[in-house]
């Protein structure tokens, strides 16, 4: 496999198509949790009825298309190699939780990888849809259409008072989790995130790093999502989230301007040094790689580095995860070998940009 093919493989096609405010919001995601009526939840561990759910989904939806989402393919967890599962997790098409369900777990993925439907994760069905940039409204409208399409063949567990019934009480009601992935380097550099996060939490929204553990956000990438799913309509949830995201975008833009004004040449130097590291290093840890990738992306947004595509941040963040590296190397790699391989891959990717 050539590097180009591999990247086509690593980057879901939908990611390359713009979207609103895409210098700061990398992607919008909608997830709907749905269950079948009169079937125990996957959390009950009763294999027989769950296998029937899987068989039914395969029979009704595998190979089907809906509007622009062509040719849904079903992959059973029991048929996938550990590395293949890891790659699907790193592309955010399945959850680590689903990967562990070797018995009845499966996923339906549309050809363009924009829609994935997890079968027998925590709930019978978890429908996910991604859009580039800030497009929550479009995403939720489309998710509803797909939801209605699925509902045509399935009776959902629904209660007039409690709404869509889910395995976990934190999802009941709309079963909706809306989230946006944001790149917030200036707010992080100026230490403002520490103050902003608790404020956002008070509004029933959650902010966390996408990569990295705890409060650490590798690559200055954050995910903002709703926590409350009951007592608010989907429109309200989306509106609340969108208005907070817009605030964050404005603050990030103001902070970028401020840093450039205050310390233009120092910032330019810092960002170009990161470019230097990525273009030349022979061993690189994922933490350093994420930091440098975030710097390059900021330099592209500020118009300093030209001729490198914006998607390099999202692309290489996925590409340099352990699963992808090993998939590309076609063998298992020790952490040390991964660091060498990661450095090589990033160098090749950057050279490719310059040739284009």
């Amino acid at each position: 496999m050539s590097l180009q093919d591999f990247i086509d493989d690593a980057i879901s096609p939908w990611l390359n198509d713009g979207g609103e405010d895409n210098d700061i919001v990398l992607s919008s995601r909608i997830r709907l949790a749905r269950n079948l009526d009169k079937v125990p939840f996957p959390t009950s561990g009763q294999e027989e009825p769950l296998t029937k759910v899987l068989e039914y989904m395969e029979q009704e939806f595998s190979g089907q298309s809906f509007n622009g989402f062509k040719d849904f393919q079903l992959a059973k967890m029991s048929d996938l190699e550990p590395i293949e599962k890891r790659v699907l997790i790193e592309k955010h098409l399945i959850s680590p939780n689903l990967a562990e369900n070797e018995g009845s777990g499966a996923v339906l993925i549309s050809k363009n990888e924009q829609v994935s439907i997890m079968v027998n994760e925590e709930d019978h069905l978890r429908l996910q849809i991604y859009y580039p940039g800030l497009q929550l409204k479009t995403a939720v409208d489309t998710a509803f259409e797909i939801d209605d399409w699925i509902e045509g063949k399935i009776g959902y567990a629904f209660d007039e008072e409690k709404g869509y019934l889910t395995s976990c009480p934190t999802n009941v009601g709309t079963g909706l989790r809306a989230s946006v992935m944001m790149h917030l380097p200036a707010l992080t550099m100026t230490n403002q995130m520490n103050q902003i996060v608790p404020e956002i939490n008070k509004l029933g929204l959650v902010v966390r790093g996408i990569y990295g553990e705890g409060s650490e956000a590798l690559g200055n990438l954050y995910q903002v999502s709703n926590q409350v799913t009951l007592g608010k309509s989907e429109e309200e949830i989306i509106q609340d989230l969108t208005s907070v995201v817009r605030e964050l975008i404005d603050s990030e833009r103001r902070s970028r301007e401020w840093i450039v004004q205050q310390s233009g040449i120092q910032l330019e130097d810092k960002l170009y040094r990161s470019y230097g590291i990525l273009s030349n290093s022979r061993i690189i840890h994922s933490k350093e790689a994420s930091k440098c990738l975030s710097d390059i992306r900021l330099a592209i947004d500020l118009g300093w580095i030209k001729g490198v595509s914006k998607t390099i941040l999202n692309e290489l963040m996925v590409l340099t995860q352990p699963g992808f590296l090993q998939h590309y190397a076609k063998k298992g790699l020790s952490p040390r070998e991964r660091d060498v391989f990661r450095a090589k891959l990033i160098r090749e990717r950057l050279t490719m940009e310059q040739e284009d």
């Binding site: 959390t43 009950s44 889910t166 395995s167 009480p169 009941v172 009601g173 009951l230 989907e234 952490p335």
Partner: protein
């Protein structure tokens, strides 16, 4: 502090072991700690859901007034899950559990969903037009109040007519159902 074993990564596992009264402090990074067998980090991360559901108190006030414990006696008649099991797992066994444990759910839902207990969003199509229409009447009534407050009386009149129309349709459906 760097890891004592690989001297490369930051130490994030700090461990004091006492063997025969001799105290040893160990500082390792996650990777080395896992290799040395001190800890298994896969699946260690507490999810937000686990965190929220474990926070819910065991309806202490309710227990005091009752001699029987709901943990073992309240059971879902569809999947067999007991209330105690639900408390431990934080996950329901089936959709009927919501009904079976309904008397204990309100405080939990309130805590998790900022005080809300009732769904106001999307409704499955198969539930039929009835509930859709009822919800629309409710939402129009709110709009009507807003319009009156804003003294937009022309708009209020239109909304009132819409409500009237929907209510008539609901009434006819109900009669049809009885006949």
């Amino acid at each position: 502090m760097e890891c004592q074993r690989c001297h490369k990564n930051d130490a994030s596992v700090h461990y004091t072991q006492v063997i025969n009264g001799k105290k040893d402090e160990v500082h390792l990074c996650e990777e080395c700690a896992e290799k040395e067998g001190y800890m298994d980090f896969s699946n260690q991360h507490l999810s937000m859901h686990q965190f929220l559901t474990s926070m819910v108190p065991l309806d202490s006030a309710f227990n005091k007034s009752q001699s029987i414990k709901p943990e073992t006696t309240t059971q879902c008649d569809y999947c067999g899950m007991t209330y105690g099991e639900f408390r431990r797992k934080g996950k329901f066994g089936c959709s009927h559990c919501y009904e079976s444990f309904s008397s204990y759910l309100t405080p939990l839902l309130k805590r998790v969903h900022s005080g809300n207990t009732e769904h106001v969003g999307k409704i499955p199509k198969r539930i039929g037009g009835n509930l859709h229409k009822q919800r629309e009447v409710e939402s129009l009534q709110t709009k009507l109040q807003e319009a009156i407050q804003a003294e937009a009386f022309e708009e209020a009149a239109t909304i009132r007519d819409q409500i009237h129309q929907l209510k008539q349709e609901l009434e006819e459906e109900r009669k049809g159902g009885e006949a």
